[in-house]
Amino acid sequence: MIKSTVVKAFQVMLVMMIVTPLWAQGNGLENTFFESGKIKVVMGVAVIIFIGIAIYLFRLDKKISKLEKEIHDEKN
């Protein structure tokens, strides 16, 4: 399970390493982050944190439910 998580993390990093230089070519989307006092950077940071914690909690909840079900089934 952890192995697959680490593999996934490396896959995401690999994709990011390829995508970010392309994205960083000073296109219109990126320039908007400099507007209005760079407030979009703060929004981006908040969104990353919320999505990160939400995904983690969601997966953890699913895993716990699965194990609880297994234990429950074994008892019966």
């Binding site: 952890i2 192995k3 680490v6 993390a9 970010t20 960083a24 982050f33 400099f34 209005s36 006092g37 760079k38 407030i39 950077v41 703060v42 981006g44 940071v45 908040a46 990353i48 944190i49 990160g52 914690i53 983690y56 909690l57 953890l60 909840d61 895993k63 716990i64 194990l67 609880e68 297994e70 234990i71 074994e74």
Partner: protein, 331 residues
């Protein structure tokens, strides 16, 4: 508590400040400058508005001041043939905003810089009010609104330290082969790694728009990456040992080393190294009066506590999972 923190993080306004000027080069003689302020009140307090230019530690008056709106004021600077310094700052002052300024690099090919040149005023012009009268987060050049990230990015690392601390204490107990403590350690490290990843990604995004790069060879950044890799290695190592007593002991030793390494890499090294971009590093005290004023503190301290509590709650869930997992594996 996090609710208060998040509302305050996004609702407290920034105090007035100077955002930019419309010129990037100096020209001899008269030059028209448009000064752009941020959250300023140029129009609202037009009768007290003063503009002047600071050159080194001397000052110059400006002419033909024309207020366009609350954020924009236009004026004309009559540059002399020689200036005492190339450090030039444009000031706008009124009683609400205090003195706001823009100090930026200007290319100069026409005006000679002679250190003993004198300007008309050697002292700062008399102003009614040098400090702003508006409450809010401090306005810092380059950072602007991203100072709010102090409540989001920085507590990620505090939470990681807290969780890794739990793991460290648990690992000391687990060294004697205590399997339960081993579960505590692995749960806290997993959640700590979540906060480490969030801290790395948010820091990278913040860096892109303030330091203008996704990644830089700041000792704090590379140290954080090494810490991430070391703790990921801990999880891999722990997972590769089948015997549970052995697993508890070996991974506990690794975790204790990882914690010490984290303290050295993140708390000690950036302070010793002289090329850290992080505030409070490179020999500076971490939270000087200048860096963290009362408006930031009133949100930052609850933010740290709130995020740590959230991290602890996620850790209890993770621990529940680890215990259930262990229970099933034992059968």
């Amino acid at each position: 508590m996090l609710g208060y923190v998040l509302v305050a993080t996004f609702s407290v306004p920034l105090v007035p400040g100077g955002l930019s000027i419309n010129i990037d080069a100096l020209h001899r003689g008269k030059q028209t400058v448009i000064f752009t302020g941020y959250n300023t009140h140029f129009q609202d307090d037009a009768q007290h508005l003063q503009c002047f230019v600071g050159v080194g530690d001397q000052y110059m008056a400006v002419e033909n001041i024309l207020i366009q709106d609350n954020q924009h004021v236009q004026f004309e600077v009559n540059w002399p043939d020689t200036l005492p310094s190339s450090a030039i700052a444009f000031y706008v002052n009124n009683t609400i905003d205090g003195s706001v300024y823009v100090s930026t690099a200007l290319s100069n090919k026409e005006i000679a810089i002679i250190s003993n040149a004198t300007l008309e005023n050697t002292t700062k012009p008399n102003v009614l009010n040098d400090e702003h009268t508006v409450w809010g987060f401090p306005f810092q050049p380059i950072l602007f609104e991203t100072i709010r990230n102090l409540m989001l990015h920085v507590p990620m690392w505090f939470t990681m330290f807290f969780l890794m601390g739990i793991g460290f204490v648990a690992s000391i107990k687990a060294m004697r082969g205590n399997v339960n403590s081993d579960l505590v350690a692995v749960a806290s490290v997993k959640v700590g790694l979540l906060f480490c990843i969030l801290g790395l990604i948010t820091g990278s995004l913040w860096a892109r728009f303030t330091w203008l790069t996704w990644w830089t060879k700041d000792p704090q950044l590379n140290g954080a990456l090494v810490v991430f890799i070391v703790y990921a290695a801990y999880l891999l190592l722990r997972n590769s040992i089948d015997d549970e007593i052995k697993r508890a002991r070996i991974s506990a030793v690794f975790n204790i080393f990882a914690f010490v390494l984290m303290i050295v890499l993140l708390m000690v090294m950036p302070r010793i190294a002289d090329n850290s971009l992080h505030p409070g590093k490179s020999g500076n005290p971490a939270f000087s009066k200048y860096d963290l004023d009362s408006s930031l503190r009133s949100v930052f301290y609850p933010a740290v506590i709130g995020w740590i509590l959230l991290g602890y709650w996620i850790y209890t869930l993770q621990l529940k999972f680890e215990k259930l997992n262990d229970k099933i594996n034992r059968r």
